[in-house]
């Protein structure tokens, strides 16, 4: 292989001293293919000369990251136009990936977009668009304007293709009519004399061939110019063969007065008409498969009523800034993410979380933009606006997932890339076999078989099989609050056989609540004294006790004296009575007899609860216990996971006894307890070493290392911040049922992709021999080809109706 040395610059972060620079330099110089690497600490730049035949910038970037540093890269999305099939997408992808400074480029045919990660010090988005244009396609950097433009462009494209279809249909119908006169079984049909005339036929077929069919010639020319082939090449070849052969026969008979035999004008015209019809359906279906994003975008409120300078004013959503005070009336949408300052209401969050029951919210609670205020008048403070809102983040994740490729697609891509030349070869062989052996000397017969092979073999269905399913599947999952970060995660999730659940915040609510009150006194009196005493404490357990007591409608008083004794508990004077609340050690410290309640204490602790002893005026008075409660849906969700045949494991930092108690309540059979956050990742690795495919489910912040190590990391959360970043899947609903939903959706999507690939592959592998053997007329091949793409897209769209 010849050496092609190129030099690339990489902007590096994370270097602290010269040793770091040397380390990177040494690491890079050791790489096979790198001829020279220089790292400049001050500029934080690495200049690397490498053999492009052996490696790419992505390898260098990976090496730098493996050495513990990071490379600054940027991501850009290009909106593409002019692609007709998978081969076009592959060509653009290859072209971009060959450019210096491109780390990775992924082209999505269905979305008509390219997601490019690049090194900004080497290449700019403008250069990328130039490159795409050189390859014969249109490209622009994605912005909100051209996003709208894409939709307009799509609508215009559909309209144009519809017009072309009508035009060619009107001109093809007389040709089809004339064809009816050729068959003995349809010979009773009257055919006007004009339509039987070869010159009339040619006059009707010519505009279809060259005006309507111009797009195929242009596409084929662009492809061939770039030394590749696509479906346009096949269509152009097939229809041209039919058209020019008929033209040749017609010209040959000039002057002889006879009408030529074996004309195929109708074949070329009908083929083009059907292919254009297929394109119309395909464009319409493509538009529908990106509906999830449109739906999400449509959720946003258009305006917001803000209070500025003590005046209420209605302003467009874009003008709302963080910190604005916003009024939301009943029935209105919450414009941006915020926090309730005044009022309370039930909020319908189904559009974001998929949870159908409205959630009660009051002062201090967080509200999510685009959710619906059902019944109360609330005043909120905007905390996140624009691209920061939960909805904007969700849209971003869904878009990225829809634009990403699943590993299963690589197979389809590599096949589509070599398909066309092979098909042309098969068609030529078919022609000669027919011409020389099957029907010796019958040029027309052999030509017909050649056309049928060329046309039946278009690989468009193959190119659409995976991306349309990924788009529909990830879009549908998002509607249920399951956000897949990429196609690869959507594919991986169905292989999961072990689910590790974090305890706090995942299985449980993550906030302690008052669970037990044991006293021989009157409960209300006892709780008044305990609550009033604990009111002054800032300890989370004390706050849980106070909240629990207040929920029982017990009015608390203000203690006349209060003392927090760290590590022991509290001592307070309430209504002239001395109240002690805390641990066994506190009781011992004040010489209070508690031996007779040790069994009660043990029972509570075995249940995973934290018990607090209370003494009033020097005598033991009772016990209050608090515990982190299991989410209402956890038990059912865990049983669903078990029904799916998955091993469910709970992981927690709690002691074995408490952990076992919670696990038993939740229905989890296996517990890994007393694990530090950093130990969780180790436990995940251990399970992976046993050959298990592990999904780690956590709240995304302290579980981040484990989420990253696991085959699939699922973050339970609100769909924002760290959780979104750390995990492969974000479960917006704080409900474990979403885990089963994610696995179910992944299985459905993968099954759908396999159906599509089976159909697309099967269609081509069956269609080619059938056509070569002469069982398929060219026009039937054209119809079958046009509808194969449509059927693949329609099958993918079934995913949009999946019920979880």
């Amino acid at each position: 292989m010849s050496e092609k040395v190129v030099e690339s610059q990489f902007q590096i972060t994370g270097m602290t001293c010269a040793a770091c620079a040397t380390r990177i330099e040494k690491g890079l110089n050791k790489m096979e293919g790198v001829s020279d690497a220089n790292v400049n600490l001050a500029l934080e730049k690495a200049s690397v000369k490498f053999d492009a035949a052996k490696m790419g910038p992505a390898d260098i970037q990976e090496k730098i990251r493996a050495l513990g540093y990071d490379v600054i890269t940027e991501k850009v999305e290009l909106v593409l136009t002019g692609m007709t099939c998978a081969a076009c997408a592959i060509r653009i992808e290859k072209g971009l990936n060959k450019m210096d400074g491109i780390i990775s480029a992924n082209v999505n045919l269905a979305l008509e977009k390219a997601a490019v990660e690049f090194n900004p010090s080497i290449v700019s988005p403008a250069e990328m668009t130039q490159k795409v244009e050189k390859l014969g396609y249109g490209a622009s950097v994605k912005s909100e304007d051209n996003e709208k433009g894409t939709v307009d462009h799509r609508l215009k494209e559909i309209e144009k293709q519809q017009g072309k279809f009508i035009f060619s249909l009107i001109l093809s119908l007389p040709l089809l009519w004339a064809m009816a006169g050729h068959f003995s079984f349809t010979s009773f049909i009257y055919v006007p004399e004009a339509f039987m005339n070869p010159w009339v036929q040619m006059a009707l077929a010519t505009p279809v061939q060259f005006y309507i069919g111009k797009q195929f010639y242009v596409g084929a020319y662009k492809a061939l110019r770039n030394k590749s082939a696509n479906m346009d090449v096949l269509v152009a070849l097939g229809t041209s063969a039919a058209y020019f052969y008929s033209l040749y026969l017609s010209l040959k008979t000039i002057g002889s007065g006879a009408h030529p035999e074996g004309l195929y004008f109708e074949t070329s015209a009908v083929l083009i008409t059907l292919i254009i019809l297929g394109k119309v359906f395909e464009a319409k279906a493509k538009g529908r498969s990106s509906e999830a994003i449109k739906k999400l975008m449509g959720l946003q409120a258009k305006t917001a009523t803000v209070i500025r300078e003590e005046k209420e004013m209605e302003i467009p959503l874009e003008e709302v800034v963080a910190g604005d005070i916003i009024l939301v009336k009943p029935g209105e949408k919450i414009p941006v993410d915020g926090e309730i300052l005044e009022g309370q209401s039930a909020l319908d969050e189904s559009m974001i979380t998929g949870e159908s029951v409205p959630v009660d919210k009051t002062v201090g609670d967080r509200v999510i933009g685009a959710t619906l205020n059902k019944n109360g008048f609330i005043k909120i403070k905007a905390t996140k606006v624009g691209k920061e809102t939960a909805l904007a983040q969700i849209i971003k994740v869904v878009e990225e997932a829809q634009g990403s490729k699943a590993p299963i697609q690589r197979l389809a891509d590599s096949i589509s890339g070599v398909f066309v030349p092979i098909v042309v070869g098969i068609a030529v062989i078919t022609f000669f076999v027919w011409y020389l052996f099957v029907a010796p000397g019958d040029f027309a017969e052999a030509l017909e078989k050649l056309i049928a092979v060329l046309v039946i073999a278009c690989p468009c269905a193959l190119g659409l099989a995976t991306p349309t399913s990924i788009m529909a599947g990830s879009g549908r999952a998002a509607e249920y609050g399951v956000l897949f970060k990429g196609g690869e995660h959507l594919e991986m999730t169905h292989r999961i056989n072990t689910v590790i659940l974090d305890k706090t915040g995942t299985i449980t609510n993550g906030a302690p609540v008052l669970t037990d009150v044991i006293t021989k006194l009157e409960e209300a009196e006892f709780l008044t004294l305990v609550g009033s005493a604990e009111k002054q404490s800032e300890h989370p357990l004390a706050q849980a006790i106070v909240e629990g007591i207040q929920e029982k409608n017990i009015t608390l008083t203000h203690p006349s004296a209060f003392e927090a004794i760290p590590g022991y508990g509290i001592k307070a004077l309430v209504d002239g009575k001395e109240v002690l609340a805390g641990t066994r050690r506190l009781m011992k410290k004040f010489n209070i007899e508690i031996e007779h309640v040790s069994d009660d204490m043990l029972t509570l602790e075995k249940q995973g609860k934290t018990a607090m002893l209370v003494a009033i005026d020097g005598a033991f008075a009772g016990i209050v216990a608090v515990a982190d409660t299991i989410k209402e849906t956890s038990t059912e969700a865990i049983s669903r996971l078990k029904d799916l045949g998955l091993e469910v494991i709970m992981i927690t930092g709690d002691n074995e006894q408490t952990a076992q108690a919670i696990a038993k309540l939740a229905g989890v059979d296996r517990v890994i307890a007393e694990v530090l956050p950093e130990g969780k990742a180790e436990e995940v690795k251990k399970l992976q070493q046993q050959g298990k495919k592990v999904a780690m489910v956590g709240d995304g912040i302290n579980d981040a290392p484990a989420l990253a190590v696991a085959d699939i990391g699922m973050a339970i959360g609100t769909g924002t911040d760290v959780a979104m970043e750390a995990a492969d899947i974000t479960l917006i609903r704080g409900d474990l049922n979403s885990i089963a939903d994610a696995i179910f959706m992944s299985k459905k999507t993968i099954r759908n992709i396999k159906q599509n690939l089976f159909w697309a592959f099967g269609y081509n592998t069956l269609g080619i021999p059938i056509a070569a053997l002469g069982f398929l007329a060219p026009w039937l091949a054209g119809a079958a080809m046009a509808f194969s793409s449509v059927s693949v897209v329609l099958n993918a769209l079934r995913l949009q109706r999946v019920k979880l």
């Binding site: 017009g163 003995s184 070869p198 009339v200 035999e261 007329a777």
Partner: protein, 43 residues
């Protein structure tokens, strides 16, 4: 869409009209003995 449909119909009428005008002027075309590609399509 209408524009496309109308153009196609007008074109079709011109072609067919042209054909009949030609045959009216030049006389009836030769009977169609040769356009028997029936066999061709039926194979």
């Amino acid at each position: 869409m209408k524009k496309w449909a109308l153009s196609a119909i007008v074109y079709l009428l011109i072609v067919v009209g042209g054909y009949y005008s030609y045959t009216a002027i030049a006389g009836s075309p030769v009977d169609d003995p040769g356009h028997s590609d029936t066999e061709q399509h039926e194979k």
